[in-house]
């Protein structure tokens, strides 16, 4: 578990450095995500594959377990930022109607457009969905 957490932090650190070095328009952790994804694909496709200590899909088991343990509780990590709403009460009272209306309409519209575009494009390209139904 500790090596896996170190790996996550190392990728984040490398991501932060890379973003500043190349002046990229994205936050360090997202660059870290890309680095870890590339690393895992490289690890999975390496020439001589050891069978032990791996989950079925070729990802080292400690990395798999740690990542999923964190992601199962992803909601927790947004609680401090959500509590921060108390600091913005004034603006929210002054412009509440416009902000809430814009937010509600836009979130529904973006979600519907993304889902329907995805569905339509999938039907046109003939790639069927293969996952379990939720």
């Amino acid at each position: 578990m500790i090596p896996a957490i170190s790996l996550l932090l190392l990728c984040q650190l490398a991501g932060e450095a890379l973003v500043r070095l190349l002046d990229l328009p994205l936050p360090g952790p997202v660059a870290g995500l890309v680095l870890l994804a590339l690393g895992l694909v490289g690890w999975r496709n390496r020439p001589r594959r050891a069978a032990s200590r791996q989950s079925a899909d070729g990802i080292p088991k400690p990395v798999h377990d740690t990542a999923h343990a964190i992601l199962r509780n992803l909601s927790l990590l947004f609680v401090p930022a959500a509590v921060g709403i108390v600091q913005q009460a004034d603006v929210l009272v002054a412009h509440g109607v416009a902000l809430v209306a814009a937010l509600v309409v836009s979130t529904i519209a973006a979600m519907a457009v993304a889902a329907l575009t995805f569905k339509l494009a999938r039907r046109l390209t003939g790639s069927q969905n293969d996952g379990p139904q939720s």
Binding site: L36, V41, A81, F118
Partner: protein, 239 residues
């Protein structure tokens, strides 16, 4: 009586108290959400935040003192974002097969999120700095705050709008997708990750692993797409 006050003064100065309150509030909120059969309205983020806010008000604690404890939880957002690479790689075959739907849905959804937010705000008379704070509301907090700042918005207001969007998106995704008869977990996950970033992604993981992987992917991609589209729209715009 003095002893109790002494203990309170001691605890109020240390990060331990509010870290404990944050975790306990979340544990309770998650239990309630599970009891409610993961009903979309029983969102654990909003329940836990409400519990913490009540505790802050009752004890007369300000946000800065609270955050000294809560920062440890907040910090984990970085490693958690990196961890999204794991389900992404595990579902890489599914992602590859859906490359074209992903790209088309990304640009259609991203442009809709920005333009519709600004259009509605503009129609209701919001000034330019509020419009620029609204435009990146579907994107994960660090990118959204950076974009708002660069284009003349108010970054702290953007942070609140981003969180509110996330909670609202996580609440409506299930009924909305059912109403649109969209049953493909990849499409459902992609839509909620695009429109409602990490909080939407957390909701997607509650429901389905594949939906979670596509939501995390959409969150990262929409961060990029919005960073590219927002300055472009700002050049063309009438406001």
């Amino acid at each position: 009586m003095t002893r109790v006050t002494d203990i309170w003064v001691y605890l109020a100065e240390k990060p331990l108290l509010w870290l404990t309150v944050t975790l306990a509030a979340y544990a309770l909120a998650d239990w309630l959400s599970a009891r409610a059969d993961r009903h979309p309205l029983a969102n654990p983020v909003i329940i836990a935040a409400a519990l913490v806010i009540v505790a802050l008000k009752l004890s007369g604690t300000d946000f800065t003192s609270y955050f000294e404890g809560a920062q440890f939880v907040h910090f984990m957002l970085g490693p958690a974002t990196v961890a999204l690479a794991v389900p992404l790689v595990e579902n890489l075959d599914r992602v590859r097969k859906a490359a074209l739907p992903i790209l088309l849905a990304l640009f259609a959804g991203s442009a809709t999120a920005i333009v519709s937010a600004v259009a509605v705000g503009w129609a209701l008379g919001a000034p330019r700095d509020l419009l620029m704070s609204l435009a990146p509301k579907s994107v994960t907090t660090p990118i959204a705050m950076g974009l708002a700042e660069a284009l003349g918005g108010i970054p702290t207001l953007t942070a609140v709008l981003v969180i509110t969007t996330g909670v609202f998106g996580a609440m409506i995704v299930t009924p909305l997708m059912d109403a649109l008869q969209c049953r493909d977990p990849a499409a459902r996950g992609f839509a909620v990750g695009l429109a409602a970033h990490g909080i939407g992604t957390a909701r997607a993981f509650q429901v389905n692993e594949v939906a979670g992987a596509f939501a995390g992917l959409a969150m990262g991609l929409n961060g990029l797409a919005t960073a590219l589209l927002m300055p472009l729209l700002d050049h063309l715009a009438i406001w």
